[in-house]
Symmetry: C3
Subunit: 337 residues, 3 copies
Amino acid sequence: MRHFLTTEDWDQNALQHVLDRAKALKAGASSAALAGKSVALVFFNPSLRTRSSFDIGIAQLGGHPVVLDARAGTWPMEMTEGAVMDGDAEEHVVEAARVLSRYVDMIAIRCFPKFQDWSVEREDPLISAFARHSSVPVVNMETIVHPCQELALMMTLQERLGRVENKTFLLTWVPHPRPLNTAVANSALLIASKFGMNVRMLIPDDVYRLDDRYMTAAEQACRVHGTKFEIMTDVEAAYTGAQAVYAKSWGALPFYGQWESEGHYREKGAGFMVDDAKMALTDDAIVSHCLPMRRNVKIADSVVDSPAFLGIEEAENRLHVQKAMMEALSREQDARG
Amino acid sequence: MRHFLTTEDWDQNALQHVLDRAKALKAGASSAALAGKSVALVFFNPSLRTRSSFDIGIAQLGGHPVVLDARAGTWPMEMTEGAVMDGDAEEHVVEAARVLSRYVDMIAIRCFPKFQDWSVEREDPLISAFARHSSVPVVNMETIVHPCQELALMMTLQERLGRVENKTFLLTWVPHPRPLNTAVANSALLIASKFGMNVRMLIPDDVYRLDDRYMTAAEQACRVHGTKFEIMTDVEAAYTGAQAVYAKSWGALPFYGQWESEGHYREKGAGFMVDDAKMALTDDAIVSHCLPMRRNVKIADSVVDSPAFLGIEEAENRLHVQKAMMEALSREQDARG
Amino acid sequence: MRHFLTTEDWDQNALQHVLDRAKALKAGASSAALAGKSVALVFFNPSLRTRSSFDIGIAQLGGHPVVLDARAGTWPMEMTEGAVMDGDAEEHVVEAARVLSRYVDMIAIRCFPKFQDWSVEREDPLISAFARHSSVPVVNMETIVHPCQELALMMTLQERLGRVENKTFLLTWVPHPRPLNTAVANSALLIASKFGMNVRMLIPDDVYRLDDRYMTAAEQACRVHGTKFEIMTDVEAAYTGAQAVYAKSWGALPFYGQWESEGHYREKGAGFMVDDAKMALTDDAIVSHCLPMRRNVKIADSVVDSPAFLGIEEAENRLHVQKAMMEALSREQDARG
């Protein structure tokens, strides 16, 4: 059975089919792919945009969304096999996944890392266990990657740039008062490289390198496509000639969960906000950012309010790509009988 | 594009059309005005009655409700243009409104004042900004006014009194252990005066006068209709001859957010609970109150449990007027193409 | 008007009709019993499984579910008639029930006891008051009993054992780090005895006896059926010859709300986990447990992962029995006009 946990498990062609269908849905095609079906939306972390776009998308496909709020503390769940469950967890993920599978036809999960131990959290243990024990498809609504955001980003790039192959995509670290999850940054590398773009990652210091898993995946995809993957710390060089700029802030993995000492390195990126001067170096690039986004901290108002900014379009496209992906998973499931 | 932020923006005829349609819906008329549409219900403050009546009303109109819980702390939002967003707010209302507009066909918002600075909050900044940046109609589910409650109140008055013109409406301050929002009191003045009633406001002390914006609006509406607007502190005079009594408690604006010194004035209204003795002074008046309502603090059991009490009817009518208003906004939106 | 507050109000035949209908629904029968209707799901305590199974079941019956989160503190409600409401409660249950009755066609409520005063809480005051003042059927989603779980349990037993009459049902107390609600234990006694099973209750000490109300009901039902009701503390004797084992942990009523001194008695049950050795004493018994369930604390992995374990099936059956019960209540309501 096919899940949608990470784009690493899907090849470019399969994803392009989903993107093409998303464009058709956006253009007005209708679909009753979820008629008579229910989808559980399980939130271990809060959400407004993801929640509304999934909820509405499911309804538009004729299905019934069930939102389950499993936020911090309300549903501590055991993930280790054989555990003696005398701690906080009242339920094992095995039972949770099996029972939900009996109620619904698809399970979407949001579960951010807890900023405790990256060596554990980089394995994405909760959604992986859910997928292992579920008898219905599982969809990732953001964990340590954010594959739905990837699809929305790629759809937006294709809408504006046409063919993206060999164009230059810049992922730039930007300032933020707090260290954030690396999911969207990991995802940006994965999708841009898989679709044949030259990929640059601009960071203020080497401590902001992402997990090897994602940098290696990007490197390999670029090698296959004959494009370049570069990690850069020079702002001017990075922006020069870029055709797409994607802004994201994240916490440095060497200080994961013990952020006190990260401040020094964060300071080095104090000038990394996307602004007009930097944009002037690009090849008339478009700019995007997943939302929410702090104006005048991550991106200057003048850039956000210019035609180059595609963040609203990308947010809208979340709705369409998610519908297309749920349709694809549901049809495969039906085909399996 | 027309929103429903406050009845101040709507004339009596337009509102009467909505009320007439609400009566038809209550009598059993059906409507598919929201078929294929979604409505976001955004709650910055908790709600049970407003949430259920909107949710059910949308479903009855064939639409899909999406409830977004944006309660304290979960979605702090920047409202100032040009702000450098390095504080708590992760998102600017501009992006929030624009993205939601892409997902849904109407946005309803509940956002109480924060009891911090009335000079700011009296401008109703959040819902105003949402309306400014939204491309779909915005509906007020209670901010510093409560226009849906106004419509429900007027529908209930008309059901019981027939023509309300020239009848006497008494808004009486009543006791409550805590200082409350003035929204429903402001709204009561607006709707009773707009529909041609004589309006009396009974308060224990001048410090309980409402914001000039609403007292002036009521005064002007009464002048247009040739009715009387009176602010009274004499209980006996206020009840004598009244045909409708509306009870509400609120905090005194001069002590807004610094309530310590308000207690002294609150004490002066200790005898203001609606009871049989006061009701005996009226012209066989009906009594109502938006819910929730503290029995034997705001209104005595003997009054609540008498046929004069219309609070349950008014609460039911919320469902009908909201459906009629959403239908009207949706039809206008469709007409605009 | 008929509610579903406790199976004590329903005779075996009426419940068997509901179970038979649940089996038909599970087998694929469809029903539009709630078409055009709304059901309020009011949660004074959190829930994920109950919430999803009710929500989905209502949608499958063509109805519209409205989930109201009334968790601790958000909706403190007065239940005493004549109360002067100058405390925490903003609303009286009389108004809450009357207004919800105007909006929806059925009200389901979850409200656990507060572990404060069992002499009060054993009367189930909130759901009882709701039922008294509601003009639509009220369904219990777990209070001091859990009648929906009872139906799911009995459906599961009948699916596996065929006729349950005269078979032996063992309710065994099992370890848990914290004292829990007695609802499911009370319910297990009620349903097994009502359906003609021999009922054994295994507890580590007499302090774990359940409220007399339920033990007496079980005793009387067993007398009517000519079966045996036994309270046992000997593990070996209790398991020997049992055909169904139901595991549940609960707090000892003599220490209700003052659990400090219960620990000593809890220790006496340290060996009460359901395991292979105990299961070997039974007559090839099935085992079940309502979920959530702590593995290797209440039941050993080897038992949970064996074919004898029916907890997942019982959880699935919640969906079917709830649909059948809502259908029955709705049809009765329609018949009353």
